[in-house]
């Protein structure tokens, strides 16, 4: 049971993620863009953040960078959702401080287990 912030501009995928994570027992706050997600994190620091890379306005990479620049959010784990599987994109994700990434199309089961793994790692 954890508080998770999710940002994805595609409503269907957003609902899918929210459904699966809530089914797994987490409390989920969902947003359609990066800026709102970062804003929400300031209101209440979550235990995990899921960011889609390709979003209009503030992209997932920008949002991740903004969080790492903020001392209160610097240690919150971030998982990137990416439609790109190219090494350079993944590398860039780690460079801005992401903890893990999930490539679209992903299986909800796989996503849930990744979330569990990252949460366990951050709690120890």
């Amino acid at each position: 049971m954890a508080t998770i912030v999710v940002a994805d501009d595609d409503a269907d995928i957003r609902d899918l993620v929210v459904f699966k994570l809530e089914q797994s027992g987490h409390q989920v706050l969902a947003f359609g863009d990066g800026a709102s997600a970062v804003e929400a994190c300031h209101q209440q620091v979550p235990e995990l953040v899921l960011l889609d890379v390709m979003m209009p306005g503030m992209s997932g990479l920008d949002a991740c960078r903004a969080m790492r620049a903020d001392p209160t959010l610097a240690t919150v784990p971030v998982i990137l959702l990416t439609a790109r599987a190219q090494e350079s994109d993944i590398e860039q994700g780690f460079l801005v401080g992401a903890d893990d990434y999930v490539v679209k199309p992903f299986s909800p089961r796989e996503l849930a287990s990744r979330v569990t793994a990252v949460l366990q790692r951050s709690r120890t």
Binding site: D12, I13, L16, F19, A83, K104, P105, S107, P108
Partner: protein, 531 residues
Amino acid sequence: MRPDGIRAQLRTLVFILSLLLLLVGITGVGGVLLMKRTVGVVTDWAGPAVVANHAVLQDLTDAETGLRAWIATGDTAFLQPYYAGLGRLPRDEAELRRFSRQREPLAGFVAEQQQRARDWLDSYARVRLSRPAGAGTITPQLFLVGKQKFDLIRQANTRIVHRLHAWIQSARATERTQLSWTIALAGLISLIGAGLGWLVGTLMAARISRPLVLMQRAVDRLAAGDTAARAEPSGPREVRKVAYALNAFADENDRVRALEGQVVEQLRDLDRAKDDFLSTVSHELRTPLTSIAGYVELFEDEFGERLSPQQATMLAAVQRNVQRLRGLIEDLLTLSKAEAEAFRTSFDVLDLTHLTSDVAHDLRTVAAQRGISISEVHPTRAMVLRGDYAQLSRALLNLVSNALKFSPDGGTVTIRVKQVGDHAHIEVSDHGIGIPAAEMPHLATRFYRATNAVDAKIGGTGLGLRIVQAIADNHGGRLELESVEGEGTTARLVLPMTTADPNAADPGAAGRTAGPVAADASREETALPAG
């Protein structure tokens, strides 16, 4: 005057030299003619005049001697030479007059000698003849008169001789002078001619050869790849024309090259646009696919156990096709990536035997599920070449996956690595369904799937071999296929075994659009199922 052509210039040179030669000839001949005239004065006139003058003196001396002998002896026989001398005298005097006519002062001298001879004859010889002769008849007074008068004749004669000799001397001197002048003049003209000929010849040769040398340099530079090099049109007309032609040729060459560059650039742009399009479309397809696959999974998790058999079959069909779409998008992305990387494949030195072992290891689990064994045959030593490990792994993965897909359960797939000449061969053989010979040429075209594979309901995207083909092209290699329908297929990846960096050349130039090569076209049925 500026002679234009080479022929005109050479003609001018020959004309000038001929003119100088003619001048030398004229000088020589003129000198000789002048000398001949000078010498003619001596031979034709002065010489005979001397002879005639001498004859006159001889006549008179004969007469004087005869007269003196008659006076001394009284013998009239001695008067014979006297009369003979006087007899010849008029003729000889006339001869001498003829030579001296109008030649002063010689004519005066001759007239004087003649007058003195008359004087001697009238005032002495004829007076003495009228007197007796013999011993004791000599009167000293008269004798003295005779002697004086005759001496005067001698003096006059001597004066004529001196005069004539002076003339001969002066003629000889003139002749010598003329000879010297002739020699000097001819020599001088010859020298000027030679010098002028050399100068004009050299200048003309330079005017003809220098533009040729310049043009040759331009040609050399052009041949060396300096496209800006041009010949300077100078010199004779013929050379200028060649230079203009050369420049026109070079201009045309530049134009063609520029056009070629534009076409190549356009083709590259098109290729890039195609790759961008492919990858964008693939990315865009992934987002909805994520939703479809995700919700299908959630649906199955939620309601899977409550579905009727018919509903379960329907859901399985949806899942199967979602999987297929996912594979298609992955393959499309891989292909567009492989083709886009034709110009930037990263080449490292790698060992092929390691690569095949890695791929075989990765696929053994999948193969075991259907009871298929994967065997490896490769030399004990390392097979080293330059290549992109990720790309080559992908190519081999595709080939082995194909072989597994088309093999019957419990079959065998063999991976064989060997060196043939300076190429490495990676062969993947199966004993699967093979492919119809007629479909061979289409195998590495995008989305093409062999009919028997479709009939057998074996899944695939039709991109697998196209990806292998693109990767082979990137490495300057090729893909060869041998297949007998119903018996099996061998796919062979042929790669150049060079440890030199192939990025120095263009690894993509090996023919990206070329299809796979049928290694043994004489065999009746050769084909491979595409995946």
